[in-house]
């Protein structure tokens, strides 16, 4: 595959009566991380959902490796991993089962890989308990394991550090750092500055009302 490149051109997005994104444009190349900040309701989540093709902008377009993502949406989406506010987990399944049904939709996964990823995020001890019995922070960690296992070049993260303790926040920083080091792209919407152990961090502040 050619070098990954994410480009937003002149994005305009309306939510109901509100014009949330007004002519937003940026280009991200391999190994770059864009940190989006802004007050509540400034359109951080809407921007992420537009970038992954869940929402259509009223104007403008998103390009992935110089091709409009709308031309081959599933093909583009196979290259991205998006994690929203809520970790996408089934409450009645265990973390291990959740990861299987979530990640294997996309790529084949060995038991060992899943085990290693769960260990990495510190979820090994409770990987067979139903997700409904886990705390918000523990669920977030399972979602991080999923993110890790997907092996996608593009990460779109909405508040990746919410509910995480200090150690968990460092883990997010380390994971993003590794992703950038292997030539991936990360776009993260955050309230608190990301703690990265180095690497190119670009900032974008969305203006509120």
């Amino acid at each position: 595959m050619s070098e990954p490149r994410l480009e937003a051109q002149n994005l305009h997005l309306w939510r109901g009566e509100r014009h949330v994104l007004r002519g937003l444009a940026f280009t991200l190349g391999a190994g770059e991380c864009l940190q989006i900040t802004g007050s509540n309701g400034s359109g951080k989540t809407s921007l992420l959902r537009t970038l992954c093709g869940l929402m259509w902008p009223e104007e403008g377009r998103v390009l992935w490796s110089d091709a409009d993502i709308r031309r081959d949406l599933p093909g583009f989406q196979a290259h991205l991993a998006y994690i929203g506010h809520e970790p996408p987990l089934k409450a009645d399944l265990s973390p291990r089962e959740n990861l299987r049904y979530w990640v294997e939709m996309r790529r084949r996964l060995s038991r060992q890989e899943t085990g290693e990823a769960l260990e990495r995020v510190g979820a090994a001890q409770w990987s067979d308990r139903p997700v409904r019995t886990l705390s918000a922070g523990q669920k977030r960690r399972v979602a991080l394991a999923g993110l890790f296992l997907m092996g996608a070049p593009l990460w779109l993260l909405d508040e990746p550090t919410t509910n995480l303790d200090a150690e968990g926040q460092r883990l997010v920083g380390a994971m993003i750092h590794e992703q950038l080091a292997r030539g991936g792209i990360v776009v993260a919407a955050v309230h608190h500055e990301l703690v990265l152990p180095g690497g190119a961090l670009r900032r974008l502040e969305l203006a509120g009302e």
Binding site: M1, C52, G53, L54, M55, W56, P74, G75, Q77, A78, H79, L80, Y82, G84, E86, P87, P88, L89, K90, A91, D92, L93, E97, R100, Y101, W102, E104, M105, R106, R107, R108, E113, E116, R120, F148, L149, G151, A152, P153, E178, R182, G183, G184
Partner: protein, 239 residues
């Protein structure tokens, strides 16, 4: 650990085939249903109650019951399949897994078909097994069992598919039950008419093939078109 991290993106890991993804979807939904039995049992209990109350309400005379049996069986089957529809996408939309299915890189139309297959296995199939049993209480002869099972099985395939469109369209509506029935009932009328006709002919002991062919045609039409419509509706709902 960082070794496995690099290998994940460098090796261009083995992608899951569409077939494997569909299998996972069906396996997941069945596993979830088994953990949360109430959701599958409720429509079946409803069906059993409605069909067994009729003999008490009308008359215990078997000849009269036999006349109304096709209608009773089919109306009960239709309503109980409506009951089960509300849960089809709601939980997945709620916990964000539906979003991940959209983003999985697999064809959403194909995944919707898989999801409907799982839904039918959990609702339509048990219903078609139960229908002849419920028929016994309505004076239906045992000879009609085959006809009833086949007609309810075919009809419920069509109902699941029609319902999937309605459920996807009403995903963002709170307390969508009423709207969902309003949307899907008119579309399910042909299934009800031909399904009841096939059952009636089966009870009389004559050939029930013609209405069965029509039910089959509706199921085939549903299999080809409904997943497309449901996928489009899901995309709209997630916007």
């Amino acid at each position: 650990m960082s070794d496995t991290a690099t290998s994940a993106s460098e090796q261009g890991h083995a992608l899951s085939s569409p077939f494997a993804a569909a299998q996972l979807m069906v396996a997941r939904d069945i596993q979830l249903a088994l953990r949360k039995r109430g959701q599958i049992v409720q429509p079946l209990v409803f069906f059993a109650i409605v069909t067994t109350l009729f003999p008490l309400g009308i008359s215990p005379e078997l000849s009269r019951l036999r006349d109304v049996a096709p209608g009773v069986l089919w109306v009960a089957a239709l309503l109980s399949s409506l009951l089960a529809l509300e849960f089809l996408f709601r939980d997945d939309a709620h916990d964000g897994t539906l979003e991940q299915h959209v983003l999985s890189g697999q064809s959403l139309t194909w995944l919707m078909l898989a999801k409907t297959v799982a839904h039918w296995l959990l609702t339509g199939l048990p219903l078609s097994v139960m229908a002849p049993l419920a028929g016994l209480s309505l004076g239906v002869p045992a000879a009609a069992t085959g006809g009833i099972v086949i007609s309810v099985a075919l009809g419920s395939i069509a109902l699941s598919l029609i319902g999937a469109i309605g459920a996807a369209l009403t995903l963002t509506v709170k307390r969508s039950g009423a709207l969902l029935s309003l949307l899907t009932l008119p579309l399910s009328m042909p299934v009800l008419i031909f399904g009841a006709r096939a059952t009636e002919l089966a009870i009389k002991g004559s050939s029930y093939a013609p209405p069965l062919y029509l039910l089959g045609a509706m199921a085939v039409l549903g299999v080809t078109l409904a997943p497309l419509a449901a996928a489009a509706a899901v995309r709209i709902s997630l916007e």
